[in-house]
Symmetry: C2
Subunit: 199 residues, 2 copies
Amino acid sequence: MKKIITVSRQFGSGGRSIGKAVAQELGFDYYDSELVERVAKETGFDPEYIADAGEYAPGRSMLSYAFTSGAPHGTAGHAGAADYLWAAQCRVILELAEKGNCVIVGRCADYILRERDDCLNVFVYADKKYRADRIVSLYGVRDKSPEKRLDEKDGKRRINYKYFTGREWGVPQNYHVSLDSGYFGQEETAHIIAALAKK
Amino acid sequence: MKKIITVSRQFGSGGRSIGKAVAQELGFDYYDSELVERVAKETGFDPEYIADAGEYAPGRSMLSYAFTSGAPHGTAGHAGAADYLWAAQCRVILELAEKGNCVIVGRCADYILRERDDCLNVFVYADKKYRADRIVSLYGVRDKSPEKRLDEKDGKRRINYKYFTGREWGVPQNYHVSLDSGYFGQEETAHIIAALAKK
């Protein structure tokens, strides 16, 4: 039986709800917003900022949090804030993992916990059509096309993952199993992950 | 219940034996060498050549099979032979799929059968250390280091897949599930695939 399940996911694939369903099925804790609140407490950052910056590439909003004094140029401020947040996030995830029996969605948890041998690292994805339909039905129509929203969100996840881990996001070798949630369906994908965790 | 399982695999991951075990567990036909023999019959190519060229990037050995007359330059001969072999391989795989209840290992079968909705497309991989140890224990020590042998073999599979399918080999989106056979173990990986096929 694995004690920790990390779920990385393409935007719109349902990885977040699948992670919740897995936690429920196994009686595990589920960390997503709670994790954000803990990091907020540790760092003093605004939880809304952490929810965004903890997973996505540093953007302009980061400027207002840039605090590295004596930085030689503008971007160093970004890196300072991002690195500080990263360190806090690592600490919180390592602490939660120590407690065990949990599902952690996103936040490079697969990488942060790579030294442990009681983790099951999962990647959830689906084809673009499935994800586009899903985000429109969940979040409604926006100015930007759903395809563009998918590309932007995943692009940011990719850059963030690469920046902090040096690895490519969504490459199967980073995970123990990768599942197409469009093919298996949301509910079934959760059952498959729960069954794999029990092995 | 899925009728066809395609197994794509990193060299040394055990995907071939796993495919065999899945076929045995499900009572399915297993195609690997039989497929090669059928293609040989159709094309008149030497089975040994097909076993190699059907999956790996066209190499020098192809020159002896180059037969496109009037080709403006040397490489067109390669492409001619490779394309001819590819077409025969597609035909044979589509025929076998029509019969159903089978496991097909390698040979871009995931791509060739992409229009069918009764396929489960699997990718099997493992970390380099696991695969290096495995090929040394299976095939013995060679002049080249096992790591180099892995890179060369997978490099050729990648080029071949890209050439004929236009897609990237080993990218999760091409498959319904990707599994780390080093993490789950050979036997368990086969059980997982068989269970997924039954869904």
